[in-house]
Symmetry: C2
Subunit: 197 residues, 2 copies
Amino acid sequence: MFSPLIDKLISALRVLPGVGPKSAQRMALQLLEHQREGAARLAQALVAALDAVDRCKSCRTLSEDDECSICRNPRRDASQLCIVESPADVLAIEQAASFSGKYFVLLGRLSPIDGLGPKEIGMDILERRLQEDEVKEVIIATNPTVEGEATSHYIADLAKSRSIKVSRIAHGVPLGGELEYLDGGTLAHALSSRREL
Amino acid sequence: MFSPLIDKLISALRVLPGVGPKSAQRMALQLLEHQREGAARLAQALVAALDAVDRCKSCRTLSEDDECSICRNPRRDASQLCIVESPADVLAIEQAASFSGKYFVLLGRLSPIDGLGPKEIGMDILERRLQEDEVKEVIIATNPTVEGEATSHYIADLAKSRSIKVSRIAHGVPLGGELEYLDGGTLAHALSSRREL
């Protein structure tokens, strides 16, 4: 209906997560009508990031440097290694600001049905790190989904076989949460993981 | 927090309408982790559209051609001219598929507070069209907002001064709508515009 280049832009915008046909159309027209400078900046930023950003060689997070800023930082405690699924999880934990160790980012989780085996989520790199590094504790912070739990078990076995201490972040009632609105699974977990006072 | 190029991509994505800091972060990581091809295609589509897409010289809609496909179409009835605010409105009316005339796209509405005067919304081009063309009826389909109504009045005066018939699309209860959930303004309008049966 629109001219071919506009149609192409609309369908290219659908690659963004959560953007359907209507939003893509709104975005394309908004960019072309009112935000041409911003759109040009977006195109440049995309090209620059695609060109330079790759995985950090030691923790696999996304970074334009060979080794990311956290891995390079000598003040971070290399004896604690926190394992997360995505770079966004690193950010979330950094913002909570109570962890001073290093990270390992899976960029996914074990999910054979999607073709994600141990190699795809970097288990070979993790094994090498556990062998070489002075890691004393592995903290597993994968998401509490079925795949996240499976990944967690796999990593726990890997670490235990090297006699490295393994822990899993706690699951239970979130602060400020109300019991009556909580799902049964979380509540059952909170009960079975109760701590003596 | 992320590396500079990723941060730049995140802030560049905020130019998209309805995208806040969290969604921009999610989009950037999703593109870099899983959608690199799609992201490259998006960058190309942006550059191509920004480069080629401009306003149609006779109706001001966005098009990569000098004159858009509707203006070029000899089967469209040039005696009816429908005036809308944006290219998306053209699409909406075309999809309703009951109009065979031509369009004029304001790409905005009269809004002195935003610096949008008659010239910015193409009133000079519209005047020229009304003078030269064989337009017999002007159908005003601006949005029923304060600015849309002001724009409508301005255009109506313009057309009447050239003794061209002017009409405004009807406002009232939408099909399938329920009176009890309708706002008072629409309902008042529907009552005062009632038609005899």
